[in-house]
Every structure is written in structure tokens, then in C-alpha cells.
């Protein structure tokens, strides 16, 4: 009984990691960069919803739309200003460092605008919790249901988009070989911008669901879940869309079960240890493709 209940909690937590990881893996798959600022875009999305819904008392749907639009614009702007100039740099590390700079920047802007005090986020989900089991002892919250549903929908839409549309095919081409894609008449800049737009819109959605499930909002809300989601994406095989989902769920379950059965103090260490073991056994993650190196 308690095991099943832990499992459900693990899936709830994992679904939040999964939805953040989807955005991460999307950007990584195409642009081949670790966008450390992804977690902070999540935070911006949350503050936008909070301002519109709780401070200005406007309807929730408006908050959701404005937040998605704002994050999309933010994502495109960050890419154009901070990442694009470094795309041709001799080392891919340069853009990683700028991403960290952007992450600090977003956190500190939020700190100046909203202050350091914790804000309690009102859930954007309006669905009753599901009671399971003979005595209703197992609860699946509405947030979990919506998050998992959202994950599945996003996965299907993204996969279809990438495989069936022209823009999606362009993305695949850019991720394989930028130079060749350009020669084939693909606008590389526009394609990467589009990737960041989609990734940031996903971050906005992920942020809302993160804060609906765990309603404490501070300027640093996004950073740790961002890192965890990144781990989840690597777990599942970074660049793989279903991999991000599976990685997120598994990470959530491991975290909860290790807290429950091994040690609540050492759960971080255990999660990371499992990650290392998985990667040592299967170096490209659960669903990652192995690329044969040629001479």
C-alpha cells in the first residue's frame, strides 16, 4: 500500500521533471547547447502568471497565454543577443558560459522586480484529485494528471511536428549538419530561433505546472528543477523526446523511493549515483542513439 503510494508520488514529481526536460532536450537536440538559462525562463513564466492572475486578478487563461507569449519572445531574444554571436566560436564552451551569465541575469532582474519574498502560486489546474484504492487512501492530484497529460500531448505534437512538417525537417537537418543544411537552402538562423521559441514556450508551460504542484515561487525557483530536469534529459538520452519523458518519470521515482527506503538525507547522492551507473553502462542514456565515430 505505502509502496504504491510512494510510486504515485514519484510519478507526480517525475512528471514535473519530464515536462521541463522536454524543453531542455528540444533545445539541446537542435542547437547542441546546454541552455543553463532554461530553468530561469521557467521562473519568468511563473512570475508572469502570478502577476496577471494573483496581483492583477485577471482570468487564468489570460495569464497562461501571456506567459507563453512572453517566454517565447524572451527565448528568441536571448538566443539572438547572447547565443547567436557565439555559434561560430572555436569552442562550444563559450556559449555555455554565456548561458550561465543569462541565468544570473534573469535571476537578478527577478530579484529586483519581485523581491526575495516567497510568493504562493495559485494553481492553474482546476481538476479534483483522483482518489484510488478501497478507502481512497491513494491520491493522484489534479496537477499530476494534467502534467502527465500535457507531457503526452507535447510529446505527440513535437514528434509529429519534427517528423511531418517542413520546419521540423529543417530542424532535424540543422541538428545533423548546419553547413549542409544551409547549402540545401535552409535558413539556419530562423530554424534555431524557432527551436528556442518552442523550447521557451514549453518552459512557460512547465513553469506553470511546476508551481501549481509546488506553489512556492522565488527568483531561484527554476534553477534546481532545471538542473534535475537536465539530469533527467541526459538519463533518457539527451535529444530524444520520448527519452526526456521516460528519464523524468524514472528520476522522480528514484528520488522518492530512495528517500522512502534508503535515506532522506542521502537521496540526492543516490539519484546522482544511479545516473552515473546508467551512463557508465549505457553511455548515451536510455533511449539515446549511439553515433559511431569515423576516422
Amino acid at each position: 500500500m505505502s509502496f504504491i503510494s510512494y510510486l504515485i508520488n514519484g510519478i507526480s514529481l517525475g512528471s514535473v521533471y519530464a515536462i521541463i526536460a522536454l524543453g531542455y532536450t528540444m533545445v539541446y537536440g537542435i542547437a547542441k547547447m546546454l541552455n543553463f538559462a532554461h530553468g530561469d525562463i521557467i521562473m519568468v513564466g511563473c512570475y508572469t502568471v502570478f502577476t496577471i492572475v494573483s496581483t492583477l486578478s485577471l482570468p487564468t487563461w489570460l495569464g497562461i497565454i501571456v506567459s507563453i507569449v512572453l517566454c517565447t519572445i524572451l527565448g528568441i531574444t536571448i538566443e539572438a543577443v547572447a547565443y547567436r554571436p557565439l555559434r561560430q566560436a572555436t569552442s562550444s564552451l563559450a556559449v555555455l558560459i554565456t548561458a550561465i551569465g543569462v541565468s544570473y541575469l534573469l535571476q537578478n532582474v527577478a530579484l529586483l522586480i519581485f523581491g526575495a519574498n516567497t510568493k504562493s502560486f495559485t494553481s492553474v489546474v482546476n481538476i479534483k484529485a483522483l482518489k484510488l484504492g478501497a478507502d481512497g487512501g491513494l491520491t493522484v492530484t489534479g496537477e499530476t494528471l494534467v502534467t502527465i497529460a500535457a507531457c503526452l500531448i507535447i510529446m505527440v505534437v513535437l514528434t509529429t511536428f519534427v517528423n511531418k512538417t517542413k520546419a521540423g525537417q529543417a530542424m532535424l537537418a540543422v541538428s545533423e549538419d548546419k553547413g549542409a543544411a544551409q547549402l540545401m537552402g535552409i535558413n539556419v538562423n530562423a530554424t534555431i530561433s524557432l527551436t528556442f521559441a518552442i523550447g521557451s514556450a514549453l518552459a512557460a508551460v512547465a513553469g506553470m505546472l511546476l508551481c501549481s504542484a509546488y506553489p512556492a515561487l522565488t527568483p531561484y525557483t527554476g534553477s534546481m528543477p532545471g538542473i534535475k530536469a537536465f539530469v533527467a534529459a541526459v538519463f533518457g538520452g539527451i535529444g530524444s523526446i520520448p527519452g526526456a519523458f521516460i528519464g523524468g518519470i524514472i528520476l522522480g521515482i528514484i528520488e522518492i523511493l530512495s528517500k522512502a527506503y534508503i535515506s532522506s538525507q542521502l537521496s540526492d547522492a543516490i539519484v546522482f549515483l544511479v545516473l552515473i551507473i546508467v551512463l557508465v553502462v549505457k553511455p548515451t542514456g536510455i533511449l539515446g542513439r549511439k553515433i559511431q565515430e569515423k576516422v
Binding site: S12, L13, N117, T118, S120, Y214, P215, K259, S264, S267
Partner: protein, 385 residues
Amino acid sequence: MKKLTKTLAVALSAAMFLTSLTGCAGAAKGGDTWKIGGIGPTTGGAAVYGIAVQNGADLAIKEINEAGGIAGNKIEYNFQDDELDSEKSVNAYNALKDWGMNILVGSVTSGCCVAVAAESVNDNMFQLTPSGSAVDCITNKNVFQVCFTDPNQGIGAASYIGSNNVASKVAVIYDSSDVYSSGIYQKFAQEADNQPFEIVSAEAFTADSKTDFSVQLQKAADAGAELVFLPIYYTEASLILTQAASAGYNFKFFGCDGLDGILGVENFDTSLAEGVMLLTPFAADAADEKTQNFVKAYEAAYGDTPNQFAADAYDAVYIIKAAIEKSGVAPSASVSEIGDALEKAMTEITVDGLTGESMNWSEDGAVNKAPKAMEIKNGNYSLIQ
């Protein structure tokens, strides 16, 4: 060309070196103003506490200056960020020394406070920490505390629960990566052996995983706990309360001073906190005139509800004022002379503040004051008689 950029870089770093050198060495000898410095995290995850202290002290200093200063001498104030890092805290201390500080209010957090205290003792700088609660903070003779020490809080909470028969089975959820939280928990667990209740589950969380508390809550429920003791800060506590409610658990919650401020969380559903008990020296909703004036002035100046950190800092400044008046030392004295005078005066004064009536200090630097047991009723803190 590559060489030129390199030369530029060397020149830039040399220039930075030199600019940092130019800060007039050998702190300026005090004039006729008191230079009070403050240190705490104003950026990073703990910014909420640092900013509260910054503002609380600022408010008190403005009030004192408007009323003519301390014995006619005005106060200048400078607060430096330490990002919750011991090393940065020492840097902040040194920067303040360059500015000419003669009294220090800080550091806000225990770890940083220990590191700064090891430096300030060499200058015999009088240091009053509003909220550094670890015992190690006050091992040096020049450091005094406004808040309770962690062991004090842990023992206090355990004996309160025991002697008032609040519960017989107690669960604890604490932050094992935090000095404050693990410090209180240790003493609480020790003292629990002497009390009629039993700790049935003690589960931790860490700074890296503080969003999901379902496991800790479920373990408490499975162990049959009636009361959950939360020696943690209110951000995490607000999440725990929310998750306990949505999972349908009916615990009593009991916390320490870190929990104060939970009602001030913007947009928080205060009905979740109904019945939460806490041992705290300060509550923003207390009815006495002093507290209410403070809260009103603070809200007007900084647009936020003050928490206990702000109140501690506010008290700290008035405590310094009382100590200066008692000792009669002048700001023109050297840092070490001021230190000697105030260290002596601290053990002789009694101060009525926001965070305690008739606070007095023993030579070891710890404060004597009685914590108040509060319960949250109808969305307000109310004193348990």
C-alpha cells in the same frame, strides 16, 4: 593582434588590482558619526533573510537619526551582500572596515557569522548578530546575539511540547543541509529523551531537493505521529502545509522562529496554517503598540511585511544604542576601545524590544529572553497563555 588583446587583459587586471588598492588603507579614524555596518545575503536563495535584516536595521537607524542620533551623534549605515558564502562574508567585512565601520550588525546567517567572528575578534570589533543562531557564532568575547541560540530553541521546543502534553508521538522534518535546522533538530532529539513524548520519525530534506515532501509526510503518518515538528524556514514550511492538506493528513504542526513569516507569504492560503504552533520571539500580527508601529513603518518604507529577521535587526540597532548610552563611549574612539566599552556595557543593560521583554546578556554573548508560544488562529498569530 592576439598579443595586444593579451596585453589589454593584463592591463585590465592590473588596473582592477590598483583600484582595489586605492581604498584608503588603515580605516579612517572615526569622526563624530557612528558607522554601523551590516552583512547578510541580499542575493541568492537566502536573500529574503538578508534583505529583511538590511531593511529592519535601516528603519531603526533612520528613526534614531531623526530623533537626533545617539547622544547627539548621527549614524551612518552600510550593508554588504555576502551571497550566503563564508568567504564573501569575510570580504564584506573587510570592505566595511575600509569604509570605516566601528560597529557591526551581522552576519545574518550562522555559517557566515562564524567566519566573520574569527576576523572581527582580531580587531576587537563589537559585533552583534541579529540572527546567527549557532553557538559557534558567539565563542569570541566580542560577539553577542539578538536571537536565541539553536540549542536553546531545540530544548525549548521539546520541553514545551512535553510539559504541555501537546502530543505523545512526534515526527520531525528538517533540512539536513542547513546549519540552523540541523542544529535545532540535534538538540530537540537529545532533549526528547527526557520528555514524555517520543520521536517516531525524523526525516530530512536538503537544499537540492526541497520541493517534494510527500515521503516525509507519509512516513510521519505511517508512524502514527500526531504532531510534526518543523525546525525550518517558512518557504519550505508553506510547501509542507500545502502538501499535507492536499494529501489529507491531519497533523498538528509545531515550529520555531524560522516559521514566523509564513502568514506574510504573498497569496498564501492562510487557512492551511490554521492551528500551527510556533515558539517565536516576534509576530508581525501581535497586538502591542510597539510591534504595530514597527510593522506599519516597515510596510510603508519597504512594501513588505516584516518577518522576525527584520525585527531582530531593528532590535539590534536599539540594543547598540542602549549599550553606547550605558558605556558613554564616543564614536571618535578606536574600534577596539569601542569594542571593550560595549562588551562591558552589554552585560549591564536590559532592553525591551520587539523580540523580547527585558532582554539581557550574559558574558558569553547569549541573550536571555522568554520565547512566546504562538498559535495561528483565524489567519492571525495569537499568544497561547
